[in-house]
Symmetry: C4
Subunit: 188 residues, 4 copies
């Protein structure tokens, strides 16, 4: 297999593991013959949020990488660094939701922004490698991010600041945005 194909396979495998790691970490168990349903549904809720974030990124990743048959060394290294940060998402989501204080929400927000920026760098590098016309680039960007992109860098930075003063309000936004983005991908 070519390096590009192996990078795709590696990315798919890493993302698949990240998704299922979260289930492994879920404390679903019977204690003293009773199930704590509040805990159970909170746990499942966290899982669904992390899942939507990672699944959304996988979709965008697949759309971008389907554009080209070869990638430069720089893109390979950037993609691996993306995977490195993405692998931290389940742990940081769990941290934020079990203890919603300013430190955990801001840390999650920073990780979120890092991942989005690295991915945009990769997307830009790949698209500029293939297209020269602005209008062609625009089409691919719409395919990746949708028409109404809510994950703008500015919004994210605003959320980090919000998280410092009102962590619970920021938490709600950090939960809604990836779910909304993920569902929005279903539009053709």
């Amino acid at each position: 297999m070519k390096i590009k194909e192996r990078l795709d396979t590696l990315s798919d495998a890493i993302i698949a593991i990240i998704i299922t790691i979260m289930v492994l970490e879920m404390p679903i168990e019977v204690k003293n013959g009773e199930i704590n349903f509040a805990d159970l549904f909170q746990t499942i809720g966290i899982f669904i949020v992390s899942f939507c974030f990672v699944a959304n990124l996988w979709y965008q990743h697949a759309v971008v990488f389907a554009e080209v048959d070869e990638v430069s060394n720089k893109i390979i290294v950037m993609d691996l660094i993306l995977m490195m940060f993405l692998a931290l998402i389940p742990a940081f989501t769990r941290l934020m939701t079990t203890d919603t204080v300013k430190e955990t929400v801001v840390m999650y927000g920073i990780l979120y922004v890092i991942i989005i920026y690295i991915f945009r760098g990769i997307a830009k590098a790949i698209i500029h490698q293939k297209y020269t016309e602005k209008s062609d680039m625009q089409k691919v960007y719409v395919a990746i991010y949708g028409k109404h992109n809510t994950e703008t860098g500015l919004l994210m930075l605003a959320l980090i600041v919000l998280g410092w003063f009102f962590p619970k309000v920021a938490l709600v936004f950090f939960i809604i945005i990836p779910i909304r983005s993920f569902i929005a991908n279903s539009a053709d």
Copy 2:
């Protein structure tokens, strides 16, 4: 790779992890120099049941997705949502078998029905995308579900109701049906 191929790879990787996660969660160990064989065989039994359910779904998934070379965005999002619910199967199976009460059996039944319905939605969307003749569709449906489909939605809903009043009886059906379906796939 095209997005369809990457979706296949991602699905295979997720299903492979789901299958093997169950082994990781199995409490197979020697305590005070003794092996509790009753526990050991119960644990292995739960593993086999979960395995048959997931392996059966993998088979049906592979048959359906082999029909087409491209899938719409909507099918991609539906397939990812299917994987999300499928990832909960090991935890819910363990919950139901360690504490067979009405809550756990009904929860398992609901998850079971959700997964079956999402998969049927996907199968229908893919088959209607490819075929127009009723007779062709019928052939594919037989290849997926076999001739004597026991996993009908109505039966499942009846089992959930049964599970509320007689959890242990419903448990037996929830165990037998996926094993039967899985073995039935071996018929050509």
Copy 3:
């Protein structure tokens, strides 16, 4: 992708996870500022033995499945059942080595024999599907099992009996045979 290709990918992913699960289960840690080197090397030893067994089976599996482009439903189901039993190997190896008594050694031996027999059934079905000449079949069998096949069913049954009376002696054989088979594959 065709179902055969997806079965290959699924098998590879499951085997990859089985191999690395063993590392996850290894109790490598510093206790009270000290490392127990005896435990550490025993743990690594168990890992190497399980690894050789699974890697050896992966190699034979890859050789057999490379022979054909399509497989029957029966072979698909048999292969999935093979994966189910294979997934139990790390847990059973750990059980046998941490508590070398007749029960654990015999259980390991039985699992070993089940896996070998299922795999042989699959290999036979695939080879008979493709070849009609006895001499051609013979060549593939040599490619899979090597010239001096030590994993004969009879030898294994003898080892199970041996394990009942002299568990530690049988343990040594169960350790040596997969390592020897694995290394023997390197011969062209």
Copy 4:
């Protein structure tokens, strides 16, 4: 799929799991309503170092194996043995960083050298299988190891000796070298 392709898929899956195993092992949690940030950042630091080592090896592996379409049985067995040792990296990195004494640093160093030597053996075997001209071989070597190769065997042996007398100094080198190598791959 051919055996070479399956070996690629298996390697990718194993490496993907090794990378994400480290996150699973990370003790990121809230204790008594407080986060220990010193521990958290040390944990993330260890993860990044292990990641760079494994990602770097994946890159070199992908470059070498993209050179050929078929590999000999000997290379298959060598590659599987490489994976076996690679799977030990997360555990050994953790051991070395949680308890930086001469034993753990030297053990890590020895594992490091074993992995590098096995990989070089594989690279050499594949390149000599394909090329006969010295100048062609040189080009591939530069693509794999970069122009300024810091991972020379001699340096590593020197570090192991250093680790015996000054474990903390050697630790710093063992941390810097894989990060530097990994980043250096981005140069075209």
